[in-house]
Symmetry: C2
Subunit: 326 residues, 2 copies
Amino acid sequence: MTHDLDPLPGRCGPLSLRDMGAFHVGGQAVQLQGLPSTREVLAAGGEPVLLDPNGRYWVGQMYAQYFLPQAPTQTTPLQLWHGGGLTGACWETTPDGRPGWLHYFVRRGWDTYLCDAAERGRAGYAPQHLWGAPLSQTAEAVFARFRLGPGLGGVALADAARQAFPEGQFPAEAFEALARQLVPRWAHTDAVILDAYAALLDRVAPSAVVCHSQGGMFGLTMAQRRPDRVRAVVALEPAAVPPPSDEDTGYAVPTLIILGDRIDGDARWPAMRARIEAFARRHASVEILSLPDLGMRGNSHMLMMDRNQLDIADIAHEWLARTLQD
Amino acid sequence: MTHDLDPLPGRCGPLSLRDMGAFHVGGQAVQLQGLPSTREVLAAGGEPVLLDPNGRYWVGQMYAQYFLPQAPTQTTPLQLWHGGGLTGACWETTPDGRPGWLHYFVRRGWDTYLCDAAERGRAGYAPQHLWGAPLSQTAEAVFARFRLGPGLGGVALADAARQAFPEGQFPAEAFEALARQLVPRWAHTDAVILDAYAALLDRVAPSAVVCHSQGGMFGLTMAQRRPDRVRAVVALEPAAVPPPSDEDTGYAVPTLIILGDRIDGDARWPAMRARIEAFARRHASVEILSLPDLGMRGNSHMLMMDRNQLDIADIAHEWLARTLQD
């Protein structure tokens, strides 16, 4: 678990922190009433507890963990926002055990915030009286949707490596470790999640946001709504962009959108890329970087986990450092 | 967020890590079939996704984050196991913003594992087709059950400080930050959670386990089942103990059980304490430390968050270091 042989910046050496910690932010207290009580034993062998669901709950809060390097090199904090059905864990150790983008940015001297958006991970989620049941995604669906391979069909997860695209950058032999990271989600909580991100942006100093997939949509939306709190965005394959009808509010935050490989053959990504390209045409502050155009082939939707993830992190770091210096 | 004025060991100074990271462990792949599909837009403005719930899911896995100090002073890893309706976040920053037991043990030189038990936090949880809906706990119920005060009734959470026990050690003025940490839970997943802890213990070197409440029950149970993998246990107010019927399997792991204040006046804790005392009488390796007997008054059920939490951490650290040296 040490990485002393790798000489490139941000890739090795101890992590010296002046502080770390965590907090919950945003959300609101909501009152339930008129529901029946139940009696439950909550620990085998424990005393029964009368559970009265009526009362007060926090709903819609989010969670952030911070890692503050001993010798920061950047003055702008950096926030890592994960995608749908995932948590902050996707930025930590990769499925095959390599250090993630969290380590990279801390080693590069960024004050780094690792976030669980409202509704998942350590953020928690609302009682089902309020939100209903969540959706869960199958491993097979995620394998295809994240462009790891043409689809698993009914085959065993252990066969993921054989089913993956040839010369793909995702470590498909460790696909099960990614499948274990998946968490249930809701389809109607975007407004709640955005409110919590707004509260987080208000709490931390004006930040750079590095975001992915569903989180990419949240990052671009918050940059549009709160340009005073978002100084720059690196969006890895954002699942959506702010629609043209919002164009009158403008979009002025420097933004780099990074796209991986094999978009052409995908069922959904050509349409999503077309919207991203139209968004970039409308706003001079938005730049698109398609990795295949740089000669980087084989990247999946999970750019921060791919084998060449640190080369992509270099691109993000250098663009952010340069942009924030201007 | 620095703590340079406090001269006591483990309480201040930078956190120098030789590594950190995270992984999921345990659980099993489960197949669902015969359920109808739905079409969902998962990111506002995104392309609709056909969600077929039939397929493979990981169920029952857990999550652990590790923080490995640059200069470890202990050879045994230390695992922090949270209580019911909570996540690993309870060992991080306290509700009122002080560094938690995670910082303390890392600064004291322990390789420390911060865990989210199966079914919550970054561990995720099973599709509801398999587990049904979770239980959520109200802020008011938790306020009383954690012995922060006599009960909130219908009053606003902002009044928690006024409703708290006089001279209680819990930072009741920050009660809302604790209420935001609560996550839904199930009442019938103990076996799943224990299987995941067994997998975690197998993955990490033989460990010391510091556990709380529902996690206390899991810690004692794993020490009984896997004495080869659990070298010592510090259980903060365990919500239950292994029952006498299991006594024939013995219980030989050195164990310190720490109890807080105001147990006598509580609805449930006198019976739980009686079982803990009977457990200690049956097993010479089990020791009980009641903080009021040491003259430490006012501790709640949330010992790791109380104002004197670092004094209690000192007790745990010194007992563990001494016990593991023997």
